[in-house]
């Protein structure tokens, strides 16, 4: 069975998303910030990551860039699931790209909360097959 890592600092969101993942027939792994998230990525090698942006300790922005800069991990698909508007996220990525002098590929999908949960499930299925 395919594994989905859910990274969100909000325990209620983690619960909801985990249930949606399980209902769709996948296994969930949970992490509550970027540091824990990276640990779980290395440990469990998930097939998909659902990533929140605003989290304490390490934000989703940083975790995403870390992920994409590691050869062994950069091909794991990522769905960003955040209450931060999509535009703000892409703008911040552009700024960071320029600053770092390297361009990081865009995530597979960006879902802005509160999007319909059906949308998330459909995307998951499309990516994981």
């Amino acid at each position: 069975m395919k594994k989905v890592l859910v990274v969100d600092d909000d325990v209620d969101i983690r619960k909801v998303v985990s249930k949606l993942v399980e209902k769709s027939g996948y296994i969930t792994i949970e992490a509550k910030n970027g540091v824990e998230g990276m640990g779980k990525v290395r440990e469990d090698k998930p097939d998909l990551i659902i990533l929140d942006i605003l989290m304490p300790k390490e934000s989703g922005i940083r975790m995403y860039r870390e992920l994409k800069s590691e050869e062994a991990l950069k091909d794991i698909p990522v769905i960003v699931l955040s209450a931060i508007p999509e535009k703000s996220f892409f703008r911040s990525q552009k700024v960071l790209d320029e600053f770092a002098g390297q361009s990081v590929p865009e995530p597979e999908a960006y879902i802005e909360k509160p999007e319909e949960p059906g949308e998330l499930i459909a995307l998951m299925k499309k990516i994981l097959g």
Binding site: D9, D12, I13, R14, K19, K23, K113, P117, G118
Partner: protein, 387 residues
């Protein structure tokens, strides 16, 4: 008439005043006169001149003193003063010693020269006033935009929080609908739990928001501070026990009946003790024996100290920095990020202070100090309004 430049002529020599008045009127100025220092100060207040011609040697209060007083006052210091001095002995005081005169002219003076100086200083005066108006305007704009920025930030924080709750609700509803479609009772419960939990978060948010936005005056009445602390401990004991957290009470017996704000104190202590409990729950060190200690202490300076300390997870620098920021929460979304802010607000409304000490992994101590008014010594009876 209003646009005319107003000149105040101050001289004890009636002839000089009369002459100058005539000349300035002929040039279209408006004038007023004073014959000694005392009158001069009075006239400045009533007449509000744009320029002052000030003789030095006068009875009662001399010109130096008048100049010093006018230049020392916020209201009058920007009115240009031209001092009239006797010929040949322009005193150093006027020139360099900084009694603050803007200009001087020697008597007997050439009227054309005086007229020119007056014109010059009028222009300066107008320019300064304009600049001041501009600065005032900019200041107002700044205050306005800062307020808008603060509102914007609050709204953005609020919107972010509500979006998360809404997604939780939608997820719960989705699960309920799916369960109904497929007739699965198990996941019906899962979905419904989520709906309920997120509804609880909305209620909490609304209550906290209302409390935060409302200006609350402390309701002073007779009470026993130790009793309040005891009640709060009792209220929290049940949920603390669930997580193997011990609540220790350490109350100062010398604290007696006082006139304080019991409801406010109750609210603050409840917030701090539940925070302390949460800090223990969030602590990942399972080997600890978790303790929340509630202390009261009567300090020498007439303040009561309430202390709530725990040996839970503690806070790192990042959390400490954002502790009193709205909508910041380290409780995995379970806090509204307003609780501590409300506590701080109540403490401030009670003219008290709140401080924090925390070590990551070691625990935190929150200390509130509130003015203690002993019933016996203050003689206050029952309710008292805020001073």
């Amino acid at each position: 008439m209003n646009n005319k430049t107003k000149i105040l002529i101050v001289d004890d020599d009636v002839d000089t005043v009369e002459l100058l008045t005539k000349r300035f009127h002929a040039e279209g100025y408006h004038t007023s006169e004073a014959y000694d220092g005392k009158q001069a100060l009075q006239q400045v207040e009533e007449y509000q001149p744009d320029v002052i011609l000030l003789d030095i040697m006068m009875p009662k209060i001399d010109g130096y003193e008048v100049c010093k007083r006018l230049k020392g006052s916020e209201d009058t210091k920007r009115i240009p003063i031209i001092m009239l001095t006797a010929k040949g002995k322009i005193p150093d005081k006027v020139k360099g010693l900084g009694i603050g005169a803007d200009d001087y002219i020697a008597k007997p003076f050439d009227y054309r020269e005086l007229s020119q100086r007056v014109r010059y200083w009028t222009a300066v005066r107008i320019e300064v006033e304009e600049r001041l108006k501009e600065i005032k305007h900019l200041e107002n704009e700044l205050i306005k935009s800062e307020r808008l920025a603060a509102i914007g930030q609050t709204v953005a924080g609020l919107a972010h929080y509500v979006k998360n709750i809404l997604f939780g609700l939608k997820g719960g509803v989705y699960l309920v609908n799916e369960a109904l479609k497929k007739d699965e009772t198990d996941s019906l419960k899962d979905g419904w739990d989520m709906v309920e939990s997120n509804m609880g978060r909305i209620s909490g948010l609304v209550l906290d928001l209302l409390e935060y936005s409302r200006e609350r005056k402390p309701e002073y009445e007779k009470c026993f501070p130790n009793e309040i602390a005891n009640e709060v401990c009792k209220l929290m004991e049940g949920s603390a026990k669930e997580y193997d957290i011990e609540i220790i009470k350490d109350f100062d017996p010398s604290i007696g009946e006082a006139v304080m704000d019991p409801k406010g104190i109750h609210r603050c202590l409840l917030d701090l003790v539940s925070n302390a409990r949460d800090a223990c729950i969030f602590d990942s060190n399972e080997q600890k024996k978790w303790v929340v200690r509630v202390t009261t202490f009567l300090e020498d300076d007439g303040m009561v100290r309430f202390e709530v300390s725990d040996n839970g997870c503690g806070m790192d620098e990042e959390v400490k920095k954002k502790l009193f920021t709205s909508f910041f929460t380290s409780k995995e979304g379970r806090g509204t990020g307003l609780g501590l802010l409300n506590t701080q607000k109540i403490v401030q409304e009670n003219s008290g202070t709140i401080t924090v000490n925390s070590q990551l992994g070691q625990g935190s101590t929150f200390t509130i100090r509130l003015p203690y008014r002993d019933v016996a010594t203050s003689g206050a009876m029952g309710k008292e309004s805020q001073s």
